[in-house]
Symmetry: C2
Subunit: 419 residues, 2 copies
Amino acid sequence: MICEIVCVGTEILLGDIVNTNAVYLSRQLALMGISVLRQSVVGDNNARLTEMLKQALDRSDIVITTGGLGPTADDITRDKCCEVMESSLVLSEEIKEEIEGYFVSKGLKMSESNIRQAYVPEDGIVFRNHNGTAPGFAIEKNSKCIIALPGPPREMKPMFEEYVRPLLRKYSTATIVSHNIKMIGIGESVMAEEAGSLLDGENPTVAPYAKDGECFLRVTASGNDEDEAEEKAKPIIEKITEKFDKYVYGIDEENIESVLVKLLKKHSLKISLAESCTGGYAAKRITDISGASSVFDCGVVSYSNEIKNKILGVNAEDLKKYGAVSEPVARQMAEGIRKLSGADYGVGITGIAGPLSDNTNKPVGLSYVAVSDKNGTECIEIMTARHDRDYNRYVNGSRAFDLVRRKIIKDYERKAEKQ
Amino acid sequence: MICEIVCVGTEILLGDIVNTNAVYLSRQLALMGISVLRQSVVGDNNARLTEMLKQALDRSDIVITTGGLGPTADDITRDKCCEVMESSLVLSEEIKEEIEGYFVSKGLKMSESNIRQAYVPEDGIVFRNHNGTAPGFAIEKNSKCIIALPGPPREMKPMFEEYVRPLLRKYSTATIVSHNIKMIGIGESVMAEEAGSLLDGENPTVAPYAKDGECFLRVTASGNDEDEAEEKAKPIIEKITEKFDKYVYGIDEENIESVLVKLLKKHSLKISLAESCTGGYAAKRITDISGASSVFDCGVVSYSNEIKNKILGVNAEDLKKYGAVSEPVARQMAEGIRKLSGADYGVGITGIAGPLSDNTNKPVGLSYVAVSDKNGTECIEIMTARHDRDYNRYVNGSRAFDLVRRKIIKDYERKAEKQ
C-alpha cells in the first residue's frame, strides 16, 4: 500500500511553522509497514489543492491530509476532499451539537462560521475531535482512501491514534516493530564497531544512531502480525543489551532523566543537584517529569565562585588553586549539596559550556561531573571537544544522571540479585 | 516569481528527521518576496524524483532542491537535476582538489566514491561547500532555474546565504521586510481588539500571533528596495509600540530572557532566582545565554517546603497556613534569595504546573511570581487555565523576567529620562 501526505496551510509555505505533522504521520505509517512516497505542502488555494489531491490519488492508494478543516473561508480541505472523491457534504446535527457544547464548556460564544465544521461527507467515516472543534473524516471509494485530519498537532495526533491507526490496519501488509536500545558513555563509531555483524541482519535490521551525545541501536523487525515481529526482534535485543550492558540505560525510554526518576522512586531515594555550567538545566530536566517532587527536593545553581563557597561550602583555596572547572570543585559541590539537602545522592556539575572559554586556559567542552553518596564521591571528566553550549550543557546532565543510575543499579539492584 | 521546494531523502519520508530545511527556505524566500507554492518531499528514487522535478519545473519558475548530493549511489539529485535541465555533468578538477583537501584537513582518508561529488553541471553555477564536501549548484535555462543544495542544515544554510540569496535577487520583484513586536502580559484577542484598524492595512500588513504565552504583532512591508520597505513599516511600528508600550518587551528580539540579560548588563545589575514549580527552568533560560555569569550568580530550586524554609527562610507557619503555592510564599522566596545572593533582584516562583494538582484544592495553572528589590516586593498571580506542564513552567519564567524588565525600565531608564 502506498500513501502520500498532503499538508494544507499557507503558514507552512511562508515558513512560519515547522511541519511536524508530516514527520509524525510518516513515522507512524512506516511502523505500520505503509510506504509514504511523498510529503507535500500546499497553500489554502482551491485550484492548487484540487490539482494536488487528484495527482496524489492517481499515484497512491491512501492520501492523508492535515489542516484546512477550520471554520473560516480559507479552510477548504473539507470541500476539496469531497470534490475529488465525488462525495457531498451534509450537515451532521450530532457534530453541530458537539461543537456547540464545546463552546459552552469553554464559556465562549460560537460564531455562525463554526457551523461549517459540522458538515461531513455523506459517505464518509467521521472522526470526533476531543481537543478542538473540527472533526476529521475518511472517504473510501474505488479502492482509494482519503483521510482528512485537523492541522494542530494536539488535535491531529490523538485523532490518528483513536481512529486512523485502526482504520489503516487493513491496508497494512506487514507489521513492523521497532525498538531503540539507548546508551550513554559510548561513542557511535565504537558502538557500531563492537556491534559488528549484528548490523548485517535483514530481519530484524539493526542500525546505529547518535543524538545529543547519546547513541542507540534501532532494531526493526517485520512479521505477519505484531507477535511474530516481536518474536523476531527479541533475541537480537537480548544479544545487544548483554553486549552493551554497561552502557544501556533503557529500551524505548524517552530519556535518561525519566529512567533515573523511575529508579529513584522504585528505591525511595532522593537526588540533589549543584550546578555551575548547566545553570539549572539538569534540575529543569528532572522536574520536567510530573511527580519528580518525591525524588527531588533541592537544587542549587552556583554560578559564581562566591556562591559555590557560601552555599555549598566549596573550599575557597581550592577554587583559587584548581579553578571552578576542576575535579576537586565538582567533588565538593556534590558533597556540599548532599549535605545541604540531606538527599541520598548529591550531584556536582562544573564545566566550560562555551562557546567561549573562561579566563583560564581550559578548553571549551571540558567538564567534571561528580556524584556523592554514602559510600563516597566519584568524579568523571568529560571532554566533548565541541563549542556548542546547549550540547555541552545537555551532555553534562545526561552523564551525571547516568552516573547516578549506574550507582543505583550496582548498590540496589545487582546486590539484591546476588542475595 | 513562483518557487517550489523539493526535499530529497527517504529518511524524511520514514519520519526519522524533521524537515527543517523547508521551513528555513520558505521563510527566507517569503522575506525576498518570492512565493513558495509547494513544498514536497520525495525519496531517493530515480523515477519519482525525475517526475517530481519535471512537474515542479512545469508549474514554477524556480525549483530548489535539498539533499541527495552525497557520494553514495543513492545520492541522485545531481544527476536528475541535470537530466531535467538537459545539462551534462563534467569533472571539476578544482572541486576535486577541494574535496581532497577537506579530507586531508580532517585527517581522514577519501574514498573513491567522493569523486562523484566533484562532478558539476557543465553550464551551471557551482556553490562551494565550506562545511562539507558536496558542492551545490544552479542551472538557469529557458527562463527556468533549478538550484540544488546539500541536505545537512549546517551546510545548506551558509550556502544559501553566500550564493543563493544574491543569485535570487534578480527574481525578486519586491523586497519584503518583516518585524515582530513582541509582548508579554496581554492576551492575543485583547491585543487584536486594541490594535483595531491597525490590522486592516495592506502595505504594511499587521498580523497578530500568539505563542508560548506571548503575543506579537508582525508588521510586513514591501517596497522596491529594503530602504523603501523599512520606511513604510516604520510609522506603524512606532504607533504599535506607543499603543502597547506597557507590554512590548522588544522588536525582533529572540526572547524575553535575552532582553532581560542585556538590560541587566547595561545597568550592571544582578538577578537571583528561587524556583519551585519551574524547577530550574528559569535559571536554565538565563544561563542559556553565553556571558550570563555577569548578571547571575545564584539560583535555588526549592522543590520541597523544607528547603524553602531551610535555605530561603520562608516561614514554616506560612507554608502551612497558605500552602506552598501562595502569594506570601512567593514573596518570601523572592526576598530570601535576594538576601542569600546579595543580588539586586530576587525572584520567587511557585505554582501548580500540572498536569495534576498538589494535595490542596488549588487549580492547575495557578502560580505566584514575586520580585524583590531595594524598593520592596511585588507579586503577581498567574492563571493559565491549562494543564500543560511545560507551557505553565515556561509562562511563569517569562512573566517573572518581564516583571524584572519593567522594574529596570521604570527605575533605571524612565527615571534617567526624566532627569
